[in-house]
């Protein structure tokens, strides 16, 4: 019976024909929903930092230069392209693009830096309503990420003296 099964296998192969795609000479069209590199739209962004609070890979950092200027930086190093940032963005300022060929020698090519002019609401001081309690970051103190070393900081020592802060910086108070 083995000869029959060999014939069967041959038939399967012959029927298949040629299936190799001529990539990268010719790209296969991507589905509409494809989750590629996230693109931030500075004109729509209101600087609520919801994306930064919900990024599983901690790839989005927030740094307040002063009361009015907030810097939002997308690092693009180990982004998982999960699209949670685009999910929680209340202004739809983040789109998951169709770009996936992101190999580069210069990380700056895929990093994005938004300088946002903020005017704080004097009443509430915040502007982001999380979709559910699960999106709340249970973080005390200010968002004060380390842009220079591209690190996320969990808690600023400004409010939590004496507690062992993880991966923390010594923040000098005025």
């Amino acid at each position: 019976m083995s000869i029959l099964s060999k014939l069967g296998e041959t038939l399967v192969c012959l029927k298949a024909g040629r299936v190799t795609l001529p990539y990268p000479a010719e790209a296969k069209p991507l589905p509409e929903k494809f989750r590629g590199r996230p693109i931030f739209d500075a004109t729509k962004c209101i600087g609520c930092a919801g994306c930064a609070n919900n990024c599983p890979a901690r790839e989005i950092l927030v740094y307040d230069v002063c009361q009015e200027i907030r810097i939002l930086k997308y690092l693009g190093r180990h982004c998982a392209y999960c699209g949670r940032c685009a999910d929680v963005c209340p202004e739809k300022a983040i789109t998951m693009s169709q770009e996936f060929e992101n190999g580069t020698n210069q990380i700056g090519d895929i990093q994005q830096r938004l300088e946002l002019f903020m005017s704080t609401c004097q009443r509430c001081g915040r502007c982001f309503k999380e979709p559910s309690v699960l999106e709340q970051l249970k973080m005390k103190g200010y968002r004060f990420d380390d842009l220079e070393n591209e690190r996320w900081i969990f808690r600023s020592q400004a409010t939590l003296k004496g507690e062992p802060a993880v991966d923390d910086l010594k923040i000098e108070l005025d």
């Binding site: 029959l4 099964s5 399967v12 989750r35 599983p56 559910s132 699960l134 993880v166």
Partner: protein
Amino acid sequence: MIAREMFEQFKQRFGPLIVRADLPSDNRLFVFVDPSSVRYVTQHIFRELDARYVATIGADDRPFSGKFLVAHNFAFDKEHLLCGILAYLPPDKPQIDSITDMVPAASWGEREMRDLVGIEPVGHRYLKRLVLPDGWPEGSHPLRKDTLWNEVPAQYDPEREFKFDEAPEGCMVIPFGPFHPTLDEPAHFRLFVEGEMVRGCEYRGFMVHRGIEKLAESVMNYNDIPMLAERICGICGCVHNVAYVQSVEEAAALKPPPRAEYIRTIMLELERLHSHLLWVGLACHIVGFDTLFMQSFRIREPIMWMAEKISGNRKTYALCVIGGVRWNITPELKLELRSVLDKLESEWRPVVAAVSHDKNIQKRTCGVGVADAGQVKSMGLIGPVARAAGVDIDCRRDHPYAAYDRVEFDVITEQGADVWSRLLVRAKEVFESIRIIRQCLDKMEDGPLQLEIKDELPIGRMGLSSVEAPRGESHHFVITGENNRPRRWRVRAPTYQNLQGIPAMIKDQQIADMTISLGSIDPCFSCTDRLETVDVRSGSVKVWSQEELLKLTRKKVEG
């Protein structure tokens, strides 16, 4: 009512030994017993009540209850019950009687507990280090709450070498791995051979152990972890994603909307389809039959494209968040999915028909890597390995989750207990998966995708979830905690159990059959080694030191 009945039975038998019991639902039972009686209770459950061993979990509960916690989880498959035997241990010098002499399958679980949490299993016969790197100092345990997630102890010595066991008399040693052409991931087997025959082996793995559990317990949020869980494995990512989310939902008593459950089922089955096709291809590749390898990969490709259309990515679906799913299956996608399934079915049928009579494959796989029903029971083997030995277990039917209780399917079993039977089981399961997806598409009702969560999740509740991954049962255990993240999250991937059966499978076989025996459990070392803090190079037989290697690579890059 099965949980209550079982508990009544326990009460009559053990009486005062039971300290407390939780019956969160009909199919879950947590029994807290006195630590000194854990051995006695597990013996009764495993031997007399014929439960299946699932996992051992150690947890540092000191900041909350001041004690350590140990759990042995068992499954009553016929009764549809998952049961945990738990015991609190005193905070200084935590010790518990080992259960490995009755339940050999618990061996790794106890060794891992000793490495990571520092709970000493008294009476364990082979207390060699399993998870931690060899240079890691004694007395430092990464999963204790007072150890930081990014801490490397000062005494850590990356140069220390692994001490291998002495080879039995008359045996040669052949190293297999850490990097071997048939292994996609690093694991080191030291085979003891007598001529061509393998007489035993020693395993040293956990070389790509990445500290995922610690990261989740100390850094991430409930809704971040699904994306991390998905990256435990490159093949059954969605399984871990769903299993984690389900265990949290169970702990917090949340019920996802029915449409979300159907979508989860569909995506899990899509994943099973692509995994089975991939594995059948790889198994053929290992025995040198590359024609079928090419064909099964060709047949598999439309499934990957379909997944990309539904979720936005070929493999990492990022499907679940707590209380629902993120992607919808629209009517257009439904139509397309149906046509993809039709094509797959018509293409796979002739392949199975041809392969199931192929003498060449049979000669390489029949009677190879045998794990019979007795070994399945004692080593806790699961998935296609168990079903190929005639053990009729399948989490989808025995412990239904998502929408599996609303669909009909057969559990495929074979009697051969060898690699050939495993191949047949997996080739046939493809048709069952297609059947399940079609039923889901018919029955799927309209409705919301996500549950509205208004309150914070309760603290200190336990949840467990078993999800049938393509290669076996994937078991997740969660204790909910403060700060929007779990207190303890334990993942028991299928390879964790199946790999422990390898020494028995390859014993007294030819060394040439080692690769396919190992390949037959579809080993996924990234799943098994899921928690690490440092890169381990010292586990291998060393020719180069780490620094020398680094220097060499740097020179290469610069020059």
